[in-house]
C-alpha cells in the first residue's frame, strides 16, 4: 500500500469559523500528508477566507487555527490553489492572504510560494487530474 502515491485534492469552500468544516478538513490534510501522498489544497467560494492574514478569534472564543496553514510546507504540501474569481467577488486580493511557502529540496531549499491563483477553467482540469477529490 505504501508504494501507491495518489494525488489528493482538498477543496475548501467554507469560511473558517462559521462551521467546523475548515478545521476538520485541515485535520484530514495533516493525516493525509503523513501517509506520504501527493497532497494539494484548493480554496474557492468562502473558503478563500480560511487563508486570509491577521485572523483574530479571541472575541468569538474559538481557536485560531490559521497558523497551521503556514506549517503545511513542512509536511511537503506544496500547492495551494486559490480561485481568482472567488477572491475578486469578495473584494480580496492575494495581498490579503497569508504568505505561505514551501522549501524546494531540489533547488537548494529555496523558499517558494505555495499559493497559485487559478481561474475556473484551471480548477476544472485540476479536479479532473486529481485521483481523489475531498470536498469540504
Amino acid at each position: 500500500m505504501s508504494s501507491v502515491i495518489k494525488q489528493f485534492l482538498y477543496v475548501n469552500r467554507k469560511a473558517p469559523y462559521g462551521t467546523v468544516y475548515a478545521l476538520e478538513s485541515l485535520e484530514v490534510v495533516l493525516i493525509g500528508a503523513a501517509f506520504e501522498q501527493d497532497v494539494r489544497l484548493m480554496f474557492m467560494d468562502d473558503g478563500v477566507f480560511q487563508i486570509t492574514k491577521g485572523q483574530e478569534t479571541t472575541d468569538i472564543g474559538m481557536k485560531n487555527f490559521s497558523p497551521t496553514f503556514g506549517a503545511l510546507g513542512d509536511y511537503d504540501v506544496k500547492y495551494m490553489y486559490v480561485c481568482k474569481q472567488s477572491l475578486e467577488e469578495r473584494g480580496l486580493t492575494v495581498d490579503d492572504l497569508m504568505d505561505l511557502k514551501w522549501e524546494d529540496e531540489d533547488d537548494d531549499w529555496a523558499e517558494k510560494d505555495s499559493i497559485i491563483l487559478v481561474d475556473r477553467a484551471e480548477i476544472k482540469s485540476l479536479m479532473t487530474d486529481a485521483d481523489v477529490v475531498l470536498s469540504f
Partner: protein, 130 residues
Amino acid sequence: MKYTIQINEGPYTHQASDSAYNFTKAVLEKGYEVFRVFFYHDGVNNATRLTTPPQDDRNVVNRWSELAAAHDLDLVVCVAAAQRRGIADAEESQRNGKDADNLAPGFRISGLGQLIEGGIISDRLVVFGD
C-alpha cells in the same frame, strides 16, 4: 470497481446520509465492492444507537447497521469528530471517563488514516455532504 464512501452530515437534517445509503446499496446490488464507509463531521451522528425516530419514518441508523450485517460492511466513525460530538463505544467511553456509550452495532471508531487508506485503496472515493 472498489468504492469508499464518505458521509459528512448527520441524519434527518441533511439528505447526505440517505443519498449515501441508497448509493451504497446500489453499488452492492451491482456487484461492486464497498471497501469502507467513513463517517466524518456531523456524519458521526449516524452512528448513535440512541436515535429514536417516529415509527412512520425511516431509521437511518438501524438501516446502516442492517446493511453492514448483510454485506459485512466496514462502517468507520472518525474518533476525533466522534469525541467532539459525544459518540463513543464502551472502550472510548471508559478511556475518557464517561458514564455511557452509544455506538450502534456494525460501526467501529477509528482514526482519519482509515479515510486516507480508503482513498488510496479504492478506485473511487465518493463524498456525500451539504
